[in-house]
């Protein structure tokens, strides 16, 4: 159990470092880093606080506490991924509208030149 929790702690710290580095280099926008930072911080806290983890596992009826941590992490990441799907859908719609507008403006411009 300790090895699994230590591994989770290490992964959480790595994820936080990665997100902060990406933020500093402007590879990720602040609004999209918040979800990842919150998720990794939650994993870090739970992996270091055995009593909290055991209490949550008991509430969920899970005998092996690290499984509760994995389950929570999975749920958080599903929400994060879903949020990104929403963002991507909007970006795609905007991109299509923009491409159509560019094509129509080029058509008008060409017509004016001729």
């Amino acid at each position: 159990m300790d090895r699994l929790l230590n591994f989770t702690t290490g992964m959480s710290v790595l994820l936080i470092a990665l997100v902060l580095t990406s933020l500093r280099r402007s590879h990720i926008r602040v609004e999209y880093s918040v979800s990842w930072l919150l998720a990794s911080l939650a994993m870090l806290v739970l992996s270091r606080s055995r009593s909290t983890l055991e209490a949550i596992a008991a509430q969920l009826g899970i005998a092996y506490p690290p499984l509760a941590l994995m389950l929570l992490a999975g749920c958080v990441f599903i929400v994060v991924f879903y949020r990104f799907s929403v963002v991507i859908s909007k970006l795609k719609d905007d991109n299509i509208a923009l491409a159509q507008r560019v094509a129509i403006l080029e058509y008008h411009l060409q017509s004016m030149r001729e």
């Binding site: 299509i96 094509a103 058509y107």
Partner: protein, 234 residues
Amino acid sequence: MSELLVLVPAFNEEAAVGDVVRSVRSSMPGVPVLVVDDCSLDGTVPLAKAAGAEVLSLPHHLGLGGAVQAGYKLAFELGFKYVIRVDGDGQHDARDIPRIYAALRKSGCEMVIGSRFMEGEAPYTSLFRSLGIRFFRLILRPILGKDVRDPTSGFVGVNRNALQVFSKSFPLEYPEIEALVVLQRKAFRFEEAPCRFHPRRTGKSSITPMKSIYYIVHVLLGVFVNVLRLPRLR
């Protein structure tokens, strides 16, 4: 100025687009033909221009729905009253355009669908496609309140009311069936006109057997989302 525009969405159709444009111009002299080039990598654009078409070139590949909607947007901005869409692969017979145009004007319907099944079974329709069409007929009948014999036909004429709606909202993948539902929710009317279809002269259908399951799920979802999202006007 003509009140009709013939719209030809095309993606890598150099083997057919020139003949398609020439046959449209021969069937409908004086009617402008707009080829919407969906970022083709071959000679579609110069061949379409050489055949006498205007070309709307998309800056990157949007797929069929995005290309058709771009054409609808431009046609609406330019003030056309009617637009008839003819595929760039040569499947649709341009000699049927006058029939669709006459039906659009005479009936006052917002959409006229060129149907390959009005006069019995259509040749050149694969068994798989026939089964798909029958399936969607069954699904659409209670939603549309009437039979539609060829719901997957891309040989479609629309009037300015439909143009206005489609300029703002148009299904981007596999648009034909969803577009019917969008119109129905707006209390717009459609009818079908008999048309001839030919085997495509070039390329392959975008709907391969492997993609067919995705197609069915996608279209069904799109149909039901539109039914739930758009209030039915009477």
